[in-house]
């Protein structure tokens, strides 16, 4: 039974299909694991025990009736708490949405449900996805399952920690500047940020709309390809959604990179990159070279300009997107105020955390008259140059290879004191969002402290299959490992199912956190 949680999503889906494992049994195993490790890891904001078991029973019936036959039918999953789920609390890990229950479900989540996913709950994140550590959440800090004194990364830190600690079989995250790839790297799991427009953003609570993409986080490349294939869809409700006919991503799961042209930007290996990370990345490149890929170094250029351009663009879009939170239609409203405008101001000031306020202020400034040209338009011009640099690189290469982050996971509390330093950690991931490209992180080793290192593979627009093929081929050279905390919990548990939960079957961290504040 212990091995059940060690399965990949596709493996479990296969066992469910062949009736070796029941859907309820799988959901109960995941819920028991959640109960065992959550006190230490805190990956979830909300766990929907009763709802998960209800879904599991319904999905099992549909499988038995032959209505659900896909590879993910019956497999328990988690969803980042910035995607709307009808009837289930959706907070963006912000006090301003502490009680928000959506009336509809995000298109990507709906696509999963149609394929028979069992949604276990909603995962913790940096507030409104603004942060790189999951420490800016209003509902507690998620910890790295590999070492509880370290951060899981962010902003999809809860989703990545939950996958790593076997608290779900796969999860959805969102990536605006690296929020899937960097925490995947820190938690030793695999994550894909697809080409912009591939997955509908309908129901994703917006941060930087021109950059946001939803993507899968899982134990391996095969799972990520299967999940991406399921969630990708053209959606008229998202006007930036792109109709694609090449979303059969699992067809790229081929262990063959002969002749594949792989470029490593010299700019990604320079100053600031940790020595152990660099060694692991170059070793991974060697593995692909030995398998027949043609690997060479090149100058990408403009890399250091991506961060300032990103923070102007993302903050500008955030300041506009987050203006909807005003204490009128949903969420938090301040208790004391004088008149309408003061009610808006007080509700927002009490409802948003420091990092969100910082970005709203910066965004409002760069969009204000007198500064719009100098900052906002300048950043958009820089974005055009960065895109051009990638276009040039992809004339020569099928895949760009590099680290996902300059270091492994920092210790808890080390990053928040110096926002600018934290922003600099996004240097290898951010330009991918600016250029709309697909990017993936695959685990490629650990450092001397035992913390995971992630390899980043970047493809040209719509060329996910290249990075999936490279990632899959690389992955054949190593064995996936779960952290000790996950294995210990599995060994200790009997998996009789999750008992002792609250009467309504929904647990969340809101009350706990509110208690602490008071």
């Amino acid at each position: 039974m212990n091995s059940l949680l060690e399965m990949t999503a596709v493996q479990l889906g296969g066992k469910i299909k062949s009736r070796e494992v029941g859907v309820v049994e799988a959901a109960k195993a995941a819920l028991a694991q959640i109960q065992a490790v959550e006190p230490a890891v805190c990956a979830y904001v909300t766990v929907d025990e009763a709802g998960a078991l209800r879904q599991a029973e319904a999905v099992q019936k549909k499988i038995d009736a032959g209505e659900l036959t896909g590879p993910l039918a019956g497999v328990p999953a988690a969803v980042k708490d910035n995607m709307c789920t009808e009837g289930l609390l959706t907070t963006c890990s912000s006090k301003i949405l502490y009680n928000f229950v959506p009336t509809y479900t995000a298109e990507a989540v709906l696509n999963l449900q149609k394929a028979g996913a069992v949604i276990l709950g909603k995962t913790n994140m940096d507030e409104f996805a603004m942060g790189s550590t999951t420490e800016t959440s209003a509902f507690g800090v998620t910890r790295n399952p590999w070492n509880l004194e370290h951060v899981p990364g962010g902003s999809s830190g809860g989703s990545c920690a939950a996958v790593s600690a076997n608290e779900c079989f796969y999860a959805l995250g969102s990536d605006t500047g690296g929020s899937i790839r960097q925490p995947s790297s820190f938690c030793g799991v695999t994550g894909i940020k697809p080409t912009y427009g591939t997955v509908s953003r309908y129901g994703l609570i917006a941060y930087g709309s021109s950059l946001d993409q939803i993507g899968p986080i899982a134990k391996d490349v095969s799972d990520c390809a299967a999940v991406l294939e399921t969630i990708a869809s053209y959606d008229r409700k998202d006007s930036t959604s792109i109709p694609r006919k090449d979303c059969d991503f699992t067809s790229a799961l081929v262990d063959d990179v002969k002749g594949m042209r792989i470029g490593i930007p010299r700019d990604y290996l320079g100053e600031g990159l940790d020595g152990e990370v660099k060694a692991a990345i170059l070793q991974a490149a060697k593995v692909l070279e030995e398998k027949g890929a043609v690997v060479e170094k090149f100058d990408l250029s403009l890399v250091e300009y991506a961060i300032p351009a990103y923070y102007v663009i993302a903050s500008a879009e955030a300041s506009s997107n987050l203006s909807r939170f005003d204490g009128v239609k949903y969420g938090f409203r301040a208790k004391e105020y004088e008149g309408l405008h003061n009610m808006y101001k007080r509700s927002r000031s009490e409802g948003f955390g420091p990092e969100v306020k910082r970005r709203i202020m910066l965004g409002s400034f760069v969009l204000s008259s007198g500064y719009y040209d100098a900052y906002y338009l300048k950043a958009l011009r820089t974005k055009a140059l960065i895109k051009k640099a990638f276009d040039k690189a992809f004339e020569k290469y099928d895949v760009i290879l590099g680290p996902a982050s300059p270091s492994t996971a920092p210790g808890l509390g080390e990053s928040l004191g110096d926002p600018l330093k934290m922003y600099l950690g996004d240097i290898y991931t951010i330009s991918v969002n600016l250029a709309g490209l697909p990017g993936m992180t695959v685990p490629c080793g650990t450092d001397s402290k035992g913390l995971p290192i992630g390899l980043q593979l970047i493809g040209d627009c719509f060329q996910e299959k290249n990075i999936i093929r490279a990632g899959y081929a690389f992955e054949q050279s190593r064995k996936y490992e779960s952290p000790k905390i996950a294995r210990d919990a599995q060994a200790a548990a009997g998996y009789g199912g999750a008992q002792g939960g609250p009467a309504d079957g929904i647990r969340n961290r809101i009350a706990e956190t509110a208690g602490k504040e008071a």
């Binding site: 509809y104 021109s210 300032p308 239609k329 202020m361 965004g363 011009r381 140059l385 926002p419």
Partner: protein, 97 residues
């Protein structure tokens, strides 16, 4: 620090952002924003003359559709999220004297 953010600027940005900052938060915001703008000024090293601002990577077109209601009446569900409601509407502080 090259960019010195004045009290007036922070006041003005606070109005745009609809945020009410405490004095301590204002001082912090002045420092943070000045530092970020110093960093962002790095973009001035780039010659972007003649480069069109790129708001979206792919060409964006308006997506038109018939204006037809496809979802049902969700008034009750939606109002459940309202901090305050009255007579089937959102309740806000008095805005007209």
């Amino acid at each position: 620090m090259a960019n010195v953010i004045s009290d007036e600027t922070i006041e003005y940005v606070g109005i745009l952002a609809k945020l009410e900052l405490t004095d301590a938060e204002k001082e912090e915001a002045k420092k943070d924003m000045g530092r970020m703008l110093d960093y962002i000024d790095m973009l001035n090293e780039l010659d972007t003359s003649g480069v069109e601002p790129m708001s979206h990577v792919f060409a964006m077109n308006n997506v038109f559709r018939e204006d037809v209601v496809t979802n049902g009446d969700e008034r009750e569900k939606i109002l459940k999220n309202a901090p305050e409601q009255k007579d089937g509407s959102f309740k806000v502080p008095k805005t007209v004297e």
